[in-house]
C-alpha cells in the first residue's frame, strides 16, 4: 500500500520558494493508468526547472506511460528550503503525479546528466527514505537505476545503483521493464533478478563486477565476478531514430523552466569529431529526421502546448542537411503568430550566420560562437574544423546582418597549449572587434559588445583525450594571466571561471569506484546542488577528500598511457579504442580528421560494429 504525502506537502507550499515546483497538474501531464501494476518514476537530480526541461527523461516518461500496466511519474530534487522542511516533518519524497512516496514504487530511474549532480542523487534518494547503497537495499525497496550522458563512466556512482543503462534507452527501457516485471512476477531473489536484468543489452549491474587484482588488469580495471554477465557492456543505439516521436514532451510547466519552449530533436549524434567532446563520440552515428517530419512536429507541438517558442535541438543543428528548407518553411508557417524559433548553437561559418539570421527576424539579441581555441594550430589539434577565414567571415556576417553582441567560447588547458595559443585568443578578440567596427555604422559602434568566455578543459572518458591529465591549477592561474594580458584594451570583455569545480568534475569524469565513499561523505557533510555556483562547496570536497586519503588534484591531473588499465574500459561506447588512440596521435601531430557525414568513413567502429548507420535526410554539402 502506498502512502500519499501530498496533503502533508501542501502544508509547506506557502513556506517555500516557487511552490509550483511541487504541485504537478501541468497541462499535458499524463493521467496515470489507475490499473497499472508496475509503478516507475523518472527522476532528475536537480530542481524542477532544470529537470522538467530534460528531453531524455521526457522521452522515457512518454514511452513508459504508453506501456500496458505501467505508470510512470516524475520527481526532482526539492530545493534546499523544501528539502529541510520535508526532513523536519519526516515527509518522504514523492512522485509528482500521484503524491505517493517513492519508496513504494517498483522502479526509480535517475538521470546522471553531469558529474556535479552526484550529491543531488544521494540527496534525492535520502529524501525518498530509500537506502543509498545498492547493497543495503532489499526486494522491499524500489529498483534504483541510472542512465544519461555521464554513465559512460559509471564507476564513481556504481555503488549507489542496482543497474546502469548505457546509451540510448528508448527500446532498452521497455525490455528492461519487461524483464523486471517478469522477475517480480516469478518471485526471483534480488540477486537472481539483477542477473536477469544484466542479460538485457546495455545493462550494467555494478555488483556483478569487481576490481581485478593488479597483475590481472590489462586494459580494464573491473571485470565480471559472476558467470554469464557480459565482460563489456555495450552502449545501446535506438534503431530507427527517424520513426520515434519527435515531440518528446507535451507537458507545459507553470514554473519557468531552463528551456521553456517546445523542443524538437531534429537530429541525433555529431561526427565533427572534436577530440575533447564526449557527446560527439558517444552519440554516433548521425541520424537526421526529415524536413517534413520536423515541420509537422513543430506545428503539432505548438498547437498542443500553446508555447510561443520552439527550439530545434541537437548537438549540431545547422549541420542538418535540410536545415535551410526547414527554417524557411517554418518561417512561412509561423509568420504573424509571434512564435520564435531558436537554434541551440551557431556553426562558426557564414552558413551558420545565415541560418541564425533566418530565424532571428528583426530581433537581434546575442550570437554565440565556439572557436574553442585561439590559434589555428590548436584548433587543428582539437579537430575543431574551422579556419581563420570561417571565424572572420562569421563575425563579419553577424555584424553585417545587424547583430551587435557576440560571445566567443574558448577552453584553456587543452593538450599541447602554449602561451602563444593563449595570446592568439587575445589577437582573435582584437580582430573580432576591428571586424565589428568595420561592419557597422559609426553611430552603432558604442553598441558593440564582444565577450570572450574561457572555461577550463575537463578530460572525459571515451574521448581521444581520456588519457590526458588536467593542467594543474597553479599553471592554469598563470595561463589566465597570460590570457588576460593578451586581451585588447578596448571593446572586449573576458569572463573566466577559475573555480575548483572543474577539478572535481575531472576527478568524477575519470574516477573509479572508490569515489563513492567520498561522494557519500561530502554529501553527509552538507554538499548538495554542487552545480549551482552559490551552493557549491569546493572547499568541503577538498577537505573531506584529504581526510579520506584522496588527493583530488593528483587524480585530476594524472595522465595515463595507452596501455594503462582504465576504470571505464568495461563500458563499450562502440567507438574503438584504436580509433581514440589514433585520434590522440593525430592530435599530437596537429592533423585534422574529417566529419564522416561530409566525407569518407573515419573507422571509428560504431557503424561497422553494430547494425546502425549514418542516416541523413539529404546530402550534406561542403561549402
Amino acid at each position: 500500500m502506498s502512502t500519499n504525502v501530498f496533503s502533508q506537502v501542501e502544508t509547506l507550499l506557502e513556506l517555500v520558494e516557487r511552490p509550483s515546483r511541487y504541485i504537478n497538474h501541468e497541462w499535458g501531464a499524463s493521467a496515470l493508468d489507475p490499473n497499472a501494476d508496475y509503478r516507475a518514476c523518472m527522476m532528475y537530480p536537480d530542481t524542477y526547472e532544470v529537470g522538467q526541461a530534460n528531453q531524455g527523461l521526457a522521452i522515457l516518461y512518454s514511452i513508459l506511460n504508453a506501456q500496458e500496466g505501467v505508470s510512470c511519474e516524475r520527481a526532482y530534487t526539492p530545493w534546499i528550503d523544501m528539502a529541510d522542511c520535508m526532513r523536519a516533518l519526516d515527509i518522504p519524497l514523492y512522485g509528482l503525479e500521484s503524491g505517493d512516496a517513492l519508496k513504494d514504487f517498483d522502479l526509480i530511474g535517475i538521470q546522471y546528466p553531469h558529474e556535479m549532480a552526484v550529491t543531488n542523487i544521494l540527496e534525492s534518494l535520502d529524501l525518498a527514505q530509500i537506502p543509498l547503497f545498492s547493497k543495503e537495499r532489499s526486494l522491499d525497496d524500489p529498483l534504483i537505476i541510472a542512465g544519461g550522458p555521464s554513465v559512460l563512466n559509471p564507476e564513481p556512482i556504481a555503488d549507489f545503483f542496482d543497474c546502469v543503462l548505457i546509451g540510448e534507452s528508448e527500446e532498452q527501457i521497455i525490455k528492461f521493464v519487461d524483464a523486471h516485471r517478469k522477475a517480480l512476477a516469478e518471485g526471483l531473489s534480488r540477486e537472481d533478478m539483477l542477473f536477469a536484468l544484466s542479460q538485457v543489452p546495455g545493462v550494467y549491474v555494478p555488483q556483478f563486477y569487481a576490481e581485478l587484482p593488479k597483475e590481472e588488469q590489462s586494459r580494464a580495471i573491473y571485470a565480471p565476478i559472476k558467470e554469464g554477465v557480459p565482460e563489456k557492456v555495450k552502449r545501446q543505439i535506438v534503431t530507427g531514430f527517424k520513426n520515434t516521436d519527435p515531440l518528446a514532451s507535451h507537458i507545459v510547466p507553470y514554473a519557468a523552466t531552463v528551456h521553456d519552449r517546445v523542443a524538437i530533436e531534429i537530429l541525433r549524434g555529431c561526427s565533427r569529431g572534436c577530440r575533447f567532446c564526449q557527446a560527439g563520440m558517444a552519440y554516433r552515428p548521425v541520424r537526421e529526421r526529415t524536413a517534413d517530419q520536423i515541420v509537422s512536429a513543430v506545428l503539432e507541438g505548438l498547437k498542443k502546448t500553446g508555447y510561443d517558442e520552439v527550439s530545434l535541438t541537437s548537438l549540431s543543428t545547422t549541420d542538418h542537411s535540410q536545415i535551410e528548407e526547414i527554417l524557411t518553411r517554418l518561417n512561412k508557417r509561423l509568420a504573424i503568430t509571434g512564435v520564435r524559433i531558436s537554434l541551440p548553437s551557431q556553426r562558426m561559418d557564414s552558413f551558420g550566420v545565415e541560418m541564425a539570421a533566418l530565424v532571428s527576424g528583426s530581433k537581434k539579441g546575442g550570437l554565440t560562437f565556439a572557436p574553442e581555441a585561439g590559434s589555428q594550430r590548436l584548433r587543428n589539434v582539437i579537430n575543431k574544423n574551422i579556419t581563420e577565414e570561417d571565424i572572420e567571415k562569421s563575425i563579419e556576417g553577424a555584424f553585417k546582418a545587424g547583430w551587435r553582441r557576440i560571445k566567443l567560447y574558448f577552453m584553456i588547458g587543452l593538450p599541447s597549449e602554449t602561451d602563444d595559443d593563449l595570446r592568439a585568443i587575445g589577437e582573435l578578440a582584437q580582430r573580432a572587434y576591428e571586424i565589428a567596427r568595420d561592419n557597422c555604422e559609426p553611430s552603432q559602434r558604442s553598441a558593440i559588445q564582444i565577450t570572450c568566455s574561457a572555461a577550463i578543459f575537463v578530460p572525459k572518458s571515451h574521448t581521444p583525450y581520456q588519457w590526458f591529465g588536467q593542467v594543474h591549477p597553479d599553471e592554469i592561474k598563470r595561463r589566465i594571466e597570460v590570457l588576460k594580458e593578451s586581451m585588447p584594451q578596448k571593446g572586449v570583455r573576458l569572463n573566466y571561471h577559475a573555480s575548483d569545480t572543474s577539478y572535481l568534475e575531472a576527478v568524477l569524469a575519470r574516477g573509479d569506484r572508490s569515489l563513492a565513499q567520498l561522494i557519500y561523505e561530502v554529501w553527509k557533510r552538507g554538499a548538495r546542488f554542487d552545480a549551482w555556483t552559490e551552493q557549491a562547496q569546493e572547499k568541503l570536497w577538498f577537505e573531506t577528500a584529504e581526510e579520506l586519503g584522496f588527493n583530488l588534484l593528483e587524480l585530476a591531473c594524472k595522465s595515463y598511457g595507452y596501455k594503462d588499465p582504465l576504470p571505464w574500459a568495461h563500458i563499450d561506447s562502440l567507438v574503438l579504442n584504436n580509433y581514440l588512440e589514433m585520434e590522440d596521435l593525430r592530435s599530437k601531430m596537429s592533423q585534422i580528421t574529417e566529419d564522416c557525414t561530409f566525407g569518407l568513413c573515419t573507422y571509428c567502429g560504431v557503424c561497422t560494429r553494430t547494425n546502425a548507420d549514418i542516416d541523413l535526410a539529404g546530402d550534406r554539402l561542403v561549402e
Partner: protein, 260 residues
C-alpha cells in the same frame, strides 16, 4: 497590417482554485497566454522587436490565495462569437485555472487594474489554541490604530486603513478554532491592503496581546529545528486560506458592480 486595427477586446472571468492557487502571478500570466494560443483565438500582437500578445490582467493575488473572480482582457483581430470563444478557452484550460464567463467590452474602456478597485475576500483561519476574543481584540486594536506597518523587502511601509477598507472587516466563528474573516478592500494608487498583510499584522498583534498563547504545532517543530517560517501568520494560525470571492468596479456614486 492586421495588428494595427483596434479590433475587439474580450473580457474573460476565470477562477484560480485548488492546487493552482500556488502559482505566482507571472506563472498565471504565462499559463493563460498558452491557453489562448492553444484555443487558437485570433489574438492581436504588439508591434516591435519582440511581438507579444496584447493582453491585460486584474491585480495580482497573494501567493496561495484562491479566487473565484479573476479577469483578463485580450485583444482579438477578428470577432469570435462569445460562447464559441469561451468554449474554446475552456477546452484548453486546466480546471483549476478555468474561464467562467466572457464578454466583449469597449476597446477603449479602462484597464482592469484601474477599473476593478474593490476586492472582496473570505479568509478562513484555523487556530485551536485561540479563542474568538483573542482574534477580535487584536483586529479591533488594528482597526482603532487605523494603520498597519509592515516589512516590504527590508523597508518598513505604513498603510492607512480607513480609505482602504470599503467596509469594516467581519469576524465569524465557524466552529471550534475555525474562523472566517470577511474583508472588502479598496485599491489605491498609493498601495493596496493585501489580505495577507492584514493577516500577518493580526498574527503579530495576537502575539503581543496574548504572549502566553501557544505557537501552532508547525511553528513549534520549525522553531526546534532552527528553521524559519517565512510569514508571521504561520506562527499563530495552523492554516490560513485566502479566497477572493469578487472584484468590483466602484462608480462615482459609490455603487459597485462586477467586472462582467
Amino acid at each position: 497590417m492586421l495588428n494595427n486595427q483596434i479590433g475587439f477586446k474580450l473580457r474573460v472571468r476565470y477562477q484560480k482554485i485548488s492546487r493552482l492557487r500556488y502559482l505566482s502571478h507571472l506563472e498565471v500570466l504565462r499559463a493563460i497566454e498558452r491557453s489562448i494560443r492553444r484555443a487558437e483565438l485570433p489574438f492581436a500582437l504588439t508591434q516591435g522587436f519582440s511581438p507579444h500578445m496584447k493582453i491585460a490582467y486584474s491585480a495580482a493575488l497573494p501567493l496561495g490565495a484562491e479566487s473565484l473572480d479573476e479577469y483578463f482582457d485580450v485583444n482579438l483581430t477578428d470577432f469570435v462569437d462569445t460562447k464559441e470563444a469561451l468554449k474554446r478557452l475552456q477546452d484548453n484550460s486546466p480546471e483549476n485555472l478555468y474561464p467562467l464567463d466572457a464578454k466583449y467590452i469597449d476597446p477603449k474602456s479602462d484597464s482592469l487594474t484601474k477599473a476593478l478597485t474593490i476586492s472582496e475576500y473570505e479568509i478562513s483561519l484555523s487556530s485551536p489554541q485561540l479563542s474568538p476574543e483573542h482574534i477580535q481584540l487584536a483586529l479591533d486594536e488594528i482597526l482603532n490604530r487605523n494603520y498597519i506597518e509592515f516589512d516590504k523587502k527590508g523597508k518598513i511601509k505604513k498603510l492607512e486603513l480607513q480609505t482602504r477598507l470599503y467596509k469594516k472587516p467581519q469576524l465569524t466563528t465557524i466552529d471550534t478554532g475555525k474562523y472566517q474573516l470577511n474583508l472588502i478592500t479598496r485599491a489605491l494608487d498609493s498601495g493596496s491592503l493585501r489580505p495577507d498583510i492584514l493577516i500577518d499584522a493580526l498574527a503579530r498583534e495576537i502575539e503581543i496581546a496574548a504572549p502566553d498563547v501557544e505557537l501552532c504545532t508547525r511553528a513549534i517543530k520549525f522553531k526546534d529545528l532552527g528553521l524559519d517560517l517565512r510569514f508571521d501568520r504561520f506562527r499563530v494560525f495552523e492554516s490560513v486560506l485566502i479566497k477572493r470571492t469578487a472584484q468590483y468596479i466602484e462608480e462615482v456614486t459609490g455603487e459597485i458592480k462586477r467586472g462582467i
